[in-house]
Symmetry: C2
Subunit: 200 residues, 2 copies
Amino acid sequence: MNKIITIGREFGSGGRELGRKLAEILGCAYYDREIIAEIAKRTSLSEKYVQNVAEHKPVIPFPIHTGRTFWAVIPDYGQEVQKEQHDIIREMASKSDCVIVGRGADYILRADNPFRLFVYSDMPSKISRCRRNNANDYDKGEEMSDKELSRRIEQINKARSEYYEFYTGQKWGLPLNYDLCINTTKNDPIEIAEFVAKIC
Amino acid sequence: MNKIITIGREFGSGGRELGRKLAEILGCAYYDREIIAEIAKRTSLSEKYVQNVAEHKPVIPFPIHTGRTFWAVIPDYGQEVQKEQHDIIREMASKSDCVIVGRGADYILRADNPFRLFVYSDMPSKISRCRRNNANDYDKGEEMSDKELSRRIEQINKARSEYYEFYTGQKWGLPLNYDLCINTTKNDPIEIAEFVAKIC
């Protein structure tokens, strides 16, 4: 059976850096945004749409009232995207040793006994990591105050938490759902990858 | 400043074994039951009494009703024991590098920037570790069923959680209060000590 490492991570905690370094040390495949690109290819949907759908729990549509009630009919590919994501994660895990970031992969692959990491940190550390990395996940151009950035980070993490809980029925970040939880407030994600590689 | 490692641990998770091995690898002092023995020495109270008081949050006494209300007057050395425990932990940390198990040491020594571990595991793993180790913390002679042992483990961990929250105002086992949370369900505490020694 392949060695599979899954990484749940708070936005801004350096989980992606840790995962990339870990895959480099182990000489194995690394999957993160690649999953989105592959879903987009298979479904012919745009990467932006797929990313949005693949990282949020479904929104229950409400009728729009304008005098009399009617429904806004927007095509919903949510289920299709989720199915593709599920299949792709299973395919990737069956192909070779790999590190998979996010997307409830720990739960999808639970029968394969993955080594499950959760990476987190305190808010000041998340803010400074976001600024340092000029992260892609929030609008780079926007000049955000610490307070605004903090709120944005909280929103993203809330969406991750809701997504995880919706699709797995488990609590995101609850230690018992992971083999190791790493606080990157003081621990450097790159340095710690060296040590994780020895125990996973 | 000395290197201080504090270990919060669920009963039955192997946190003590991990701590002992870690101290052995680092060649530093290890404090666990030694703290109780030292408090008993300084206060002239029995070790059994000290252990009970030092590991439980205070109980608010209720009046006993027998026709008319009166109070059972039992001498309470709780505050004295807590003060001694606090002083001893600070003394130990100032003396040399050390590993300190339990007793909210992570909070007491927060100004010294300790490396804070939390060790936990799932219930079946806790039960089998308790049986394997013939742990001192529950009555050895007693032939407990898995259900009874599970209830006993839960009680002990509930007391640890309440004690920690009462004296620190923080949530026991909440990842953000620790630098590393280690699930010993699959990870071997002795093996993982080697890894922790390199990053702490």
